[in-house]
């Protein structure tokens, strides 16, 4: 279970750290804790994996990373582990997951590929094909963004 005070701290900080010289002190004042406690709790949350990172979320389109290809792959069960690791090793592959299949949907491995151009994404896909020997895949490019926000609790 996540403690109430941790939840309170996450809720307070998830909209953004104060951009001051002493952000944790300012958070502490806001939530009624000491600076040491804020730092200690955030460290613990990072260590136990409840927080993945305390870092900048960047607007990738704004900095020119305009191409985003969700590529789905049909991978036989005995090769999922090996292929997943190969795919995850590419810098441009930001997410790599195995997901369930169902009748009419046979693509079980998903890679999210980000690049400055479509060509850059397609080069990554070619390398993945070459290294894994896979050839049944679909590149699903985003045509329209309806919503994109950070995950909040």
């Amino acid at each position: 279970m996540t403690e109430d005070l941790d939840i309170k701290l996450i809720k307070y900080t998830q909209e953004g750290l104060p951009l001051t010289k002493t952000p944790y002190k300012d958070i502490a004042d806001g939530v009624g804790m000491t600076e040491e406690e804020v730092i200690g709790r955030l460290k613990a949350l990072l260590e136990n994996g409840k927080i993945r990172r305390l870092a900048a979320s960047i607007a990738h389109r704004k900095i020119g990373i305009n191409s985003n290809a969700m590529t789905v792959w049909k991978v036989s069960q005995d090769k999922v582990e090996e292929c997943g690791k190969i795919m995850a090793a590419f810098e441009e592959v930001t997410h790599c997951y195995e997901r369930p299949t169902f009748p009419g949907w046979e693509y079980n491995v998903f890679t999210m590929i980000h690049g400055y151009t479509d060509e850059e994404c397609e080069n990554v896909i070619s390398s993945i094909k070459e290294k894994t020997g896979l050839d049944d895949y679909v590149m699903l490019y985003s045509e329209k963004e309806f919503k994109k926000v950070g995950v909040r609790i």
Partner: protein, 158 residues
């Protein structure tokens, strides 16, 4: 505003953990061989310029007890905007995209991610979307994670 090399250097570093210290920007500045005031000023400018959404904890929703899934729907063209709006109305929806297969046509075209405080609530929301829109929703939860860590390579040239 366009990003300077200094901005890019700061941005690249900020995608990894920000120090948990009394003066984190001072520590970052020393690491990057820059001045603390300059780092804070440039981060503020990049937030104002919308290059950076925020500096904040990236939450592992499952680890804090939430349930999440990727979901997909097959919706005819003329209904897409209407359905997308229904989906967007849920606060647990963080991503919602219209996607088309480039090398092969696929029937599923609306793709979104949703999280909820429990698996029950998640499934209830998904059912509600089906009822409200009249279209099926396919849930594609993660069965195995190989990588999650959106960290972009910021080009320093140009």
């Amino acid at each position: 505003m366009s990003l300077s090399d200094t901005d890019k250097k700061i941005l690249q570093r900020l995608q990894s953990n920000i120090p948990l210290t009394h003066r984190p920007f001072l520590d970052l500045a020393e690491e990057l061989d820059l001045d603390e005031d300059l780092v804070i000023e440039r981060v503020k400018a990049m937030v104002d310029g919308k290059y950076v959404r925020r500096l904040a904890p990236i939450i592992n929703t499952q680890a804090v007890g939430n349930s999440a899934t990727l979901a997909a729907m097959q919706v005819p063209d003329k209904k897409i905007d209407e359905v997308a709006e229904v989906i967007n109305g849920y606060s647990g929806v963080s991503h919602n995209y219209l996607r088309k297969g480039r090398n092969k046509e696929l029937p599923l075209n609306i793709w979104f991610t949703m999280s909820a405080p429990s698996q029950e609530k998640l499934e209830e929301n998904i059912k509600e979307i089906e009822t409200r829109t009249g279209f099926d929703v396919r849930m594609l939860p993660t069965t195995k994670k190989f990588k999650i860590g959106v960290k972009f390579k910021i080009y320093r040239k140009g």
